[in-house]
């Protein structure tokens, strides 16, 4: 297939499954380049097919390794799978070292696997600002399963849960009392809790502690089911995890919860997109007359803010 020459030509090859067009589309939405809105408009009718799964947890619990193991298992089950791996951008230099691919170098020549590294580019919460758009692009490209791997997450880095239909929170033995530390943040957004590094003898204790701690506020009936032991190293439990992911997807579909999740996700992204547009308006000279009005005491800050939303041209008139 020919290489698309311009970004405006990306849509059709992207929808047709061209990998280079997919890669370039991701760059386009990530950098908010010329035409990115057109591309997103073009793919809008094609969204909603992929199961969007977030993978998060503290640094070093084995997110990348588990993602790599899930990729292999999903392929064995005939599912196509994309990975969006987010790593932190330096707040000092703007640079980033994206190292998640080190664990995902198999599958060359396999059209059913696509891995993309993404720098957080200043966004907080464990993802990048463009993650939602990038997930839409991957969805439109036709993957069955999309795994979003966050940066090594802290207690309140729950952004991934807003972008995912299913959120996995990972733990591993030897990570101190991570369970305590994460109690009121990440713990609450998990759909499945995964204790990775199950080949370590201490993993069972971590699992038992986790179940004990969760039983304080989670319904007890299916709790044991929702805590999964895996070893990315020897592959044990990964098949079980994939089965649970597929079962959850089916359940979300049949209960109608999937539509609600999509609406919630869209509401948040709409808010963010609208906020970005308002910020853009305020960056320019457009806001000067409003600022003047506040300085002279003619308007309050809150009145002026409403003026910005009320006028089409951002208060320029």
């Amino acid at each position: 297939m020919g290489t698309p020459g311009h970004d405006s030509d990306l849509l059709q090859p992207l929808l047709d499954g061209d990998r280079r067009a997919l890669a370039r589309s991701l760059t386009l939405v990530e950098s908010r380049g010329p035409g990115f809105r057109n591309l997103l408009r073009g793919i809008a009718p094609r969204l909603g097919r992929a199961h969007r799964v977030g993978v998060t947890g503290a640094p070093g619990v084995g997110k990348s390794s588990l993602v790599a193991a899930l990729v292999a298992t999903a392929r064995n089950n005939g599912m196509s799978i994309a990975v969006l791996a987010v790593d932190p951008t330096s707040p000092f230099t703007g640079g980033a070292l994206l190292g998640d691919r080190v664990r995902m170098t198999d599958h060359v020549g396999d059209e059913g696997v696509f891995v993309r590294s993404m720098a957080s580019r200043g966004a907080l919460g464990g993802l990048s600002t463009a993650t939602g758009d990038a997930l839409d692009v991957l969805d439109a490209a036709g993957f069955d399963l999309i795994l979003t791997e966050t940066v090594g997450a802290g207690q309140v880095d729950v952004e991934v849960a807003h972008e995912s239909e299913t959120t996995l929170v990972l733990f591993a033995p030897g990570a101190g009392d991570a369970i305590q530390a994460m109690k009121s943040g990440l713990m609450e957004v998990a759909d499945l809790w995964v204790v990775n590094k199950a080949d370590d003898v201490r993993a069972e204790k971590v699992r038992a502690d986790l179940v004990g701690s969760l039983s304080l506020h989670e319904p007890p009936d299916d709790l044991e089911e929702r805590v999964v032991l895996t070893s990315a190293k020897d592959g044990s439990g990964v098949g079980d995890l994939l089965e649970k992911l597929c079962a959850r997807r089916a359940e979300l579909e049949s209960s109608g919860a999937r539509g609600d999740l999509a609406r919630g996700r869209i509401r948040r992204r709409l808010t963010a997109a609208a906020r970005d547009l308002v910020s853009e308006r305020l960056l320019g000279s457009a806001a000067d007359s409003l600022i003047d009005a506040v300085v002279t005491g003619e308007r309050s800050v809150h009145d002026a803010a409403e003026d910005i939303l009320r006028t089409d041209d951002g208060g320029r008139s």
Binding site: A23, G33, L97, F114
Partner: protein, 136 residues
């Protein structure tokens, strides 16, 4: 707003000397670039496929095994095959000057020998990528 320069740093072939590649990866990160590091023992096929998926501006190859000629040439071939001609290729490692001249005439933008100041490398890459993006 110009988007950050994305660089793939890869170690093709069988040698395990990845210190140089890691120094370069860290230096380019500190120069404000997004560096995708793929680790040791990559085939040219793996490297070029990663470059395609990551949509990088630059592929940096480090070889200390002596197999640089076939490895670099295979990467050049695959880059052309996959329509990634706009990607800047750079190399590093222990590479004899005759081979440097040969590879630089065949499609490797520049080969940086041992002792190259990392700032020089970052500057060269920045200039090369800026030129390519303007031409694109």
């Amino acid at each position: 707003m110009s988007r950050p320069i994305r660089v793939l740093v890869a170690k093709p072939g069988r040698d395990g000397h990845d210190r140089g590649a890691k120094v370069v990866a860290a230096a380019l990160r500190d120069a404000g670039m997004e560096v995708i590091y793929t680790g040791l023992h990559q085939t040219p096929e793996m490297i070029v496929e990663a470059a395609l998926q990551e949509d990088v501006d630059v592929i940096g190859l480090s070889v200390h095994s002596g197999a640089h000629l076939p490895l670099f040439r295979r990467v050049i071939e695959l880059v052309n095959e996959k329509g990634l001609q706009n990607t800047v290729l750079v190399g590093g490692g222990i590479i004899p000057s005759d081979d440097v001249r040969a590879l630089e005439s065949e499609g490797i933008g520049k080969i940086f020998g041992p002792g190259t100041p990392t700032a020089e490398l970052a500057d060269w890459i920045r200039t090369a990528v800026t030129t390519r993006r303007e031409d694109a």
